[in-house]
Amino acid sequence: MTQAEPEGVLTGLQVMEVADFVAGPYAGRMLAEFGAEVIKIEPPGRGDSARRVGPFAHDAPGLDTSLLFNYLNAGKLGVTLDLSCASGRALLLRLLETADVFLYGGSVQELERLGLGYGHLSRVNPRLIGCYVTPFGLKGPYREYQGGELVASHLSGLAFDTPGGVNDPEKPPLKPGGRQALMIAGLYGCLATFHALFAREAAGQGQEVDVSELEPVTSFQFGGITRQAFAPQTPVRGEAQASPLYRAQDGDVAINPMQEYMWQAMVQVMGNPAWASQPEFTGRANRAANRKALRDLVDQWTQQYPKEEVYQRLQGARVPAFPNNTVADVVASPQVQSRDFFQPMPLPSGERALAPGPRYKFMEGLPGVGRPAPRLGEHTVTLLQARLGLSQQELIQLFQQGVV
């Protein structure tokens, strides 16, 4: 079944992943994209909780059909191991003796229950890097608080300013669509693991890497935080970003003529309407002060055309503008298509689904994910035999006792 794969940045790096849902598993997937061998360990029977989260392929729910799970875990090998029992933990520790990275994603309470803290693991393998992606981090007064996407988006300040240009202050602040905070934590988990790889080389010893799901997304609010540190004032909801959306015939178009020359170019594209030379719309400050009236006037122009046409005409005059795309528009975009960004991703069923590719294009060293996400326990027998030399009889015993 092996095929010659192009050598990746991390080819030869061994990662053991005990990570649930989104943040930790996404870090693991990013390491797998670079060619690392990522072995995902899941509890027997139920597996990763993302297996039960939709959307499901062809709307048929099942443990192997979650599209979220399949994306986050593509490229990994899958082993089931009951870590709540001593025999299961002992097998994991043996696997960790030769591993480079232990990637954990879950709560600190669970981590303590399983006894997989770095102090313990580093005694087994002093060169091991232990990357722990947890809701609030391993240290600090909230370390045992419960997190998740909603909590992190609100507690980070991301939700306070969303939606941009709040129209109705009675409506609650919003988390953005998808699972932005958790995906960001996964991205930072991968980034921090690279940092630790360099640190291991420099210092000759492994590292504990403490990634809180809250800190990376909070760091996106550096502008507001810096403002507070330099000139404290009570922030106003939605003020960070006025909505750049205008109505087109078939949806919205986002426009931001931030500089004066951009505004002048836009006025020309609009056909130099008389209102544009009125004093209330002359200069950036006046336009900001009369934002609402201005929006209605610009809307009258944009509404005459499809969003794609408004976008192309404004970009033709070098005015920053983009269509407010749906996911279907994005997949059909000639720009995105010309870069082959969406790539076929194998699913366990054998089907290949068009999925977003890696975040960057490398000339070499980024082979991407070649294999589908594992079915629950798919590689348990082969891996435990090959890596730990377990006999058929031992495997049968472990299976009968529910360890694997």
């Binding site: 507690l155 998808g178 991205l187 935080i225």
Partner: protein
Amino acid sequence: MSGTRLPLEGITIADFSWVLAGPRATEYLGAMGARIIKIEGPYRPDQFRSSPIEIPGADSEKYSATFWSLNYSKLGCTIDFTQPKGRELALKLAAVCDVVIENYAYGVMEKARLTYEDFRQVNPEIIMVAGSALGKTGPSKAHVTYGALLHAFSGLNSVTGYEGEPSGTLGGTFTDPLTGATLALAVLAAVWRRRRTGRGQFVDAAMSETTINQFPEAFLDYTVNGRVGGPQGNSEASGAPHGCYPCRGENRWIAIAVRNQPQWEALCGVLGDPEWTRDPRFTDQYQRWCHRAALGALVAGWTQQQDAIDLMHRLQRAGVPAGATYHSGDVLADAHHRARGFLVPLEQEIVGRKPVLRLPWLLDPGPNGNYFPAPLLGQHNDFVFREILGLSAPELEELRAGKVIL
């Protein structure tokens, strides 16, 4: 080996980036120990030197709080690389660097003939990492943007908003810092590979693509199931109450995310077990989800009388996932962030003592980071041009006279 050697010690980066995404990447790399040489036009410096958060008393063209927050752990020099002499100087610098990074609008580096091919000729093992709006190839590569407009292009707006309503927008900056982390990761990966293979390369990172990567399940739902999803508000596919509820005071809110039965029971405990919690519509996770609107209204009636931050702690201590909707002032005052040393104070003559955000993760035993304040415009010209490049004093004078450097 010494345990205090910084992980990226010995790596030098020629940093042609400006504004947000690129500077965020290089401040991370600087904190990890790389030597970052930030290159600015002497008469066209980083735009964020003059906006948007001014420092009282500082020359508003030269140093702003925004710039401070994005450029720690770097050396600063000036080169007008649009002039032939400046281009020559930029190439001379790249020849002694390991990495070149840039995030100008498409055309700036290309017009100056400072592309990967140009750098490779003076330094065959160079790594170049470029961040751009839509990528360095494709029919729209030259389109102009601000980061926030890419929330529209990437489809992220289309899934953001109140359930059943038209698409909203993300507030604040999002795509730019996201791209910053992505660029830093790309640099580390490319350097890691070069250590093993001796080969440099070019990395092309599009802000649009790193944003699309953030919500793959929505794209798969379309490519596999044909479904074009819309905004989901604060809700999740299952679980209730799962939303954001008003609290006492202006603009105070709390997010509560009940995902299972024990959390529901814990919430009822904090509520004081009122009669309505025993309503058959709320008996289990599935029933609560079916009746989530009615449930949400009842929860909101209760939260309205509570202080958001106090309630968050009461709920969390009882085992209920909850987070107050923080604004930036709350973040700055938060006890957890303080205990984790998330803000690192730095000292500089114009600024005094003010914090920056450290790398948003911790290494143990470390070392954890090397932090020093953002450079003034051209602050390290002498060091870069004389010590690193070995130029003579008359050569420097000539460059100054020609306005190639400051």
